[in-house]
Symmetry: C2
Subunit: 361 residues, 2 copies
């Protein structure tokens, strides 16, 4: 993998990645300049968690037309986008309106709750130069490259003292609030271990202490043995609708070996995960013959300086549709109680996905 590190005129980082050498004369274009980010956190005493405040994000770009796509390569220097033209496959740059910033200043103390600067990093990962592509439509070598890019960024961001947890994710589709259609994901480097990963790690730690084995490796093995909810399995990776799915078409993808983080994957495991991910995404789009929206998140070990033998890198996909044209809305029970009720059985949804044949190459 070849990388070229550039700095935008406003100081933001830009990294270009390719399987081939990138010409040295490529330059970062001078794209739009955002409001200076100065986010802060406030403690939510009732939930026992931090909440971020970033009021300059209110007016960020919202579904611009194709000719104003900030994630396409710059073709007209008079109208620069976030990215240069040139031979590269993937680009990563600092979000113009980030929820976290390494330069956030200490906020005024609040008389009621604890506050602190929201020091962290928000990056945008542009999956490809092609605005009409999708993650699932990329060739396997390109998705493998993406796993290397994600690992590179997670290692880099995770080494920052301010950062306690790094989470790559993708929101796909207007149904989950996408504001730019060009295929891209994001990486949040959090100043704290956020509530959901913290809870998962707590459960995994207890299991590991009791049994000396990983919760997720046992779950993956059990799902493969059971077989009813498997969508794809190989020697190095598995994709399945988990027995405890909260969304109708929820899928988890994990390496068979409990790698702690995306940085610990072997080339074989990256290749296996690329096949699994592409398989699932193509099945999603083939299911109803149209682009299938989803939220995709990567869970892994925190970067808090501690050992995490209990952690097991995995991908969770939450598609919002429960049937054609019907969204699963999160409302009273889900948002107010944290209690999910599924309208379908994971076994049935997995068999729908399993039945779809797709070409993965």
């Amino acid at each position: 993998m070849f990388v070229r590190e550039l700095t935008k005129p406003d100081g933001r980082n830009l990294r270009l990645y390719s399987r081939h050498p990138i010409p040295p004369d490529i330059e970062a274009p001078a794209a739009a300049v955002g409001m200076p980010p100065n986010p802060h956190l406030r403690w939510h005493p009732l939930r026992g968690e931090w909440v971020g405040y970033a009021d300059y994000r209110q007016h960020r770009a919202f579904l611009p037309s194709a000719q104003h796509n900030p994630l396409a390569p710059t073709t007209d220097p008079a109208h620069p986008t976030e990215l240069p033209a040139g031979p590269y496959d993937v680009a990563v740059f600092d979000n113009l309106s980030p929820a976290f910033s390494l330069f956030a200043e200490r906020p005024e103390p609040d008389p009621i709750v604890d506050t602190c600067p929201a020091r962290g990093v928000c990056e945008v990962v542009v999956f490809t130069q092609s605005p009409a592509a999708t993650l699932g439509s990329l060739p396997l070598w390109h998705i493998e490259l993406l796993f290397e890019v994600w690992a590179d960024r997670c290692a880099d961001l995770g080494s920052l003292p301010a950062v306690k947890y790094v989470m790559p994710f993708e929101n796909r589709g207007v149904e989950v609030g996408v504001t730019l259609h060009h295929p891209h994901g994001q990486i949040y480097a959090y100043p704290v271990v956020p509530p959901v990963p913290a809870r998962e790690l707590e459960q995994q730690q207890r299991y590991f202490e009791e049994r000396g084995r990983g919760l997720l490796v046992d779950l993956v093995d059990a799902e493969i043995l059971d077989g009813r909810r498997i969508v794809h399995a190989s020697g190095s990776a598995a994709a399945f609708v988990p027995v405890c799915a909260r969304y109708a078409y929820e899928v988890w993808i994990a390496p068979r070996r409990p790698a702690e983080s995306i940085c610990d994957l072997t080339p074989d495991e990256r290749a296996g995960l690329a096949v699994a991910l592409k398989t699932v995404l193509l099945k999603f789009d083939a299911l109803w013959g149209k682009p299938f929206p989803y939220v995709m998140v990567f869970h892994q070990a925190p970067t808090d300086g501690l050992e995490h033998p209990e952690a097991h890198f995995h991908i969770e996909l939450y598609p919002p549709y429960r049937m054609p044209g019907r969204l699963k809305y999160l409302a009273g029970s889900e948002l107010g109680a944290g209690f999910f009720t599924a309208d379908s059985l994971p076994e049935l949804k997995a068999s729908e996905l399993r039945a779809i044949e797709v070409r993965v190459e």
Copy 2:
């Protein structure tokens, strides 16, 4: 308050409530018969929480036309709705497609995770006979009556041995997935204390043990003293955008005294809460001159047979809009990490709401 308890032909309960006596000859109509509910729970080992499965809910009623409104009083006996005609103000009945049922059977054991019958109750609370009304538009006496109805149902459902937590809630607007426009709420009587109230009670319990006072009563007093986020305050109740709001226009309403549950409220406190709730809802609708969607949930002490001096009944309102026409989508960070980032400051949103004058009577 007068109550008439009826049983529908399919065995479901129906209760009619009014400030005036209800004629004894009123009968429950024979509405649609649903699939026999047999929901179950599965343990989610990674999150350490239960997930409900109720596959017969997939085909429940979805935005029927006005003449097929199942929550309007029956006018033509050949086309019965869920409710009779007659002089009553509020009606409560068992949901036709419930997420929980007292008659749920023990599911087949699963080889991977624990399962159990989803024994509980789901009720529908029809706020008024008028299909075009809204909760906020009801006169104060009617909202006070509703607080009595909610308390009656919470006491009744909470006394069931299967029930560990009772949560009244309202989803308002298609933006939060409403499937019937007639003004109504729901009550879920859960077989477990769900994750969010459990987490809040844990935080409140720790605070109470350390200081001998309630977390929320201290927070409410501090918000009133601070004043910047108060939307409405009286001697018995307060409404405010909390200092740690996760949604732009999030509002909490609480009695000033730390009543453990809605069942413990005095008539004065009910009256104060009715004024606070009506004030907030009218301000919401007046904000942009159109119906303002929200999810409203009631948090209180569990009904697990234990003492809960730490609990403090309160209402949380989560409106999904962050600005006119722009929803706050829950995506990667919120759903996958449990980490919320707000695009606005609570102080500013509270001042917008405070500036709106409404007539409460």
